[in-house]
């Protein structure tokens, strides 16, 4: 049996080659991990936005919906910007009154989910608080 073994140069060279290959592989796994994390964040943010939108849309009036989210609208109406923490995200609800000659009030709603000050997902919708209608 050959007991001479490898020279120091051979051992060092093989360790360096393996190190480079392992570094590339590690980078690949880390990239997969961070991509997974981002996908999970987008899905969770989507749930936070959709659940907020459903609470507002399902309420009898926009004021009731905001109250269900523990948000207190100002005395002059619900128009304005509200921020709330939901499922680890900052949900920004922007309400503005749309002009028009309607028996009720038409509000446009913009609901965004932010994380670390960066917008992840957002939706634009509207809610009609009927005058002669059941809202």
């Amino acid at each position: 049996m050959n007991k001479k073994g490898f020279t120091l140069i051979e051992v060092l060279f093989s360790i360096a080659a393996l190190g480079i290959i392992c570094a590339v592989l590690l980078k690949l796994f880390l990239l997969a991990g961070s991509t997974n994390e981002r996908a999970a964040d987008i899905q969770d943010a989507q749930v936070a936005v959709a659940s907020t939108a459903e609470i507002l849309a399902g309420a009898n009036s926009l004021e009731d919906g905001l109250a269900s989210l523990s948000l207190i609208p100002p005395a002059n109406g619900p128009a304005g910007q509200y921020r709330l923490l939901r499922d680890g995200f900052t949900v920004v609800v922007t309400v503005s009154e749309e002009p028009g000659d309607y028996p009720g009030t038409l509000y446009s709603l913009s609901i965004d989910a932010e994380q670390d000050g960066k917008k992840l997902v957002g939706i634009e919708t509207a809610k009609y608080d009927g005058g002669g209608t059941d809202g």
């Binding site: 996908a39 309607y102 028996p103 957002g122 634009e124 509207a126 005058g131 059941d134």
Partner: protein, 137 residues
Amino acid sequence: MVKRALTCKKGASSVLVILLLLVLVVFGVAALTTALSGLRLGQKVSDWNESYYRLEGQAARCWAEIDAAVSRAADTGGPFERALEKELKQLGFEAALKDNAITYEVRTGESRLHVTLALDMEQSPRLRPAEWYQIQP
């Protein structure tokens, strides 16, 4: 020659190391592909939700227009149903009155939202959402 190659132990450890690295590469690529698919799916769901809520917004705007039309028709003093049909024809979208219900559709791209508003005539005319569903292409 073949027998020699099969029985020779030279380079066996290198073959094992290369095989191990190959397995790791396959796992890494599979993990990245799965993660990217998850990300794409998340973005797609986000786009669908955005489109759905935009449709809902349009439907709410149409509802407000119809409510205004109902109110104007009630104020005319004449036969309500005829006045309402006339008012509905003047709207910028198609809304049909049938059996005390007003039906209309809103669309963005290929997806549509079908809405039926029930018209309650007991005291003064009142609208109530009766059906509200999305039609996927």
